[in-house]
Amino acid sequence: MGPSALHGAIATLIGLAIMAVGHKSYTFNVLTKMWLGIVLFGLFHTFVFMPTIFSLLGPATDAKRKKSTRRKVFFQKIESMNDS
């Protein structure tokens, strides 16, 4: 997840750098600055903000839910074996 997001961001920035060097018009100037902001804030959210906020407020993941279900089934099996 991390490397693929980073690769995407770097590829966008490389494309942006070429445009930033080649064009001096107002529209391209705005494009370069705004996209730089978009990519950097996107990365900030992906690598810093979202992991933090999801670990604090996020719901239980599918994998976690499956794991706890498996554990419950496992303990139920052991209990039934002990009973028998």
């Binding site: 705004m34 979202m50 999801f54 599918d62």
Partner: protein, 234 residues
């Protein structure tokens, strides 16, 4: 037509008179003068010198065709749109006064002009100049940007809900998307940019790109369990 010309020239019920005196350049005024001095062969008999006359439709179009043959009429022909031998539209010019603050005065001017044209002009009469496009931007830009962003955010929420089936995740993704836009708006002065139509487009684009990052992360978060201490050791 007389009423419209007078209303535009005087800028009736405007906050202030936005137009320079006697700056209205209307083909109809020239045409009327030409008729009133008896130059039109069709109505010469009924002319009272110095008095403006309103021609019946048939005579009007005959005189107009005759006027188009004169040098001045030929020059003004481009200001008139004819369909099936009848006038379907025309163009007039008026020079506005210079204003200090285009943002404030421009918006008032545009509103005033729209009121005048709506009240006195025929259907579909509108004012146009390059400056009016800028003023138009000042009138609608913020409102349209807010509406577009709000509808995009609503659409994002629906799609994220469909993909993740989790209200909490959808709200968190929405928070990230809104934050990205908010941060970008806050960065505008630092980027040395002003809020205009080009920036508004990129603000909308940023919604799409930021949801891409946020959605990828949240989807991964739901499907993959984070490694615990034992996994990290391995």
């Amino acid at each position: 037509m007389h009423q419209l010309d007078a209303a535009v020239q005087e800028c009736r019920a405007c906050k202030q008179n936005w137009h320079m005196k006697h700056s209205l350049d209307s083909w109809y005024a020239y045409f009327s003068n030409w008729v009133s001095i008896g130059s039109c062969s069709v109505v010469t008999a009924s002319i009272v010198p110095g008095q403006k006359i309103v021609l019946p439709e048939a005579q009007f179009y005959d005189c107009l065709q005759e006027w188009f043959l004169t040098d001045f009429g030929r020059n003004k022909k481009n200001d008139i749109v004819m369909e099936d031998g009848k006038i379907s539209g025309w163009r007039e010019y008026v020079t506005p006064i210079k204003t200090e603050n285009l943002y404030e005065d421009g918006r008032t001017y545009l509103t005033d002009m729209r009121r005048v044209l709506g009240q006195y002009g025929i259907e579909k009469t509108y004012a146009y100049s390059k400056d009016l496009l800028t003023m138009e931007m000042f009138v609608v830009l913020v409102k349209e940007t807010v509406i577009s962003c709000a509808s995009s955010i609503a659409a994002i929420f629906c799609i994220v809900m469909l993909i993740t089936c989790s209200l909490r995740i959808s709200l968190l993704v929405l928070l990230c998307v809104v934050q990205t836009d908010y941060f970008l708006c806050a960065m505008l002065p630092l980027f040395d940019l002003t809020f205009n139509n080009v920036v508004a487009i990129y603000l909308l684009t940023s919604l799409g790109l930021s949801v891409l990052y946020a959605m990828q992360f949240s989807h991964k978060f739901l499907n993959v369990d984070a490694p615990d201490a034992l996994d990290r050791k391995e």
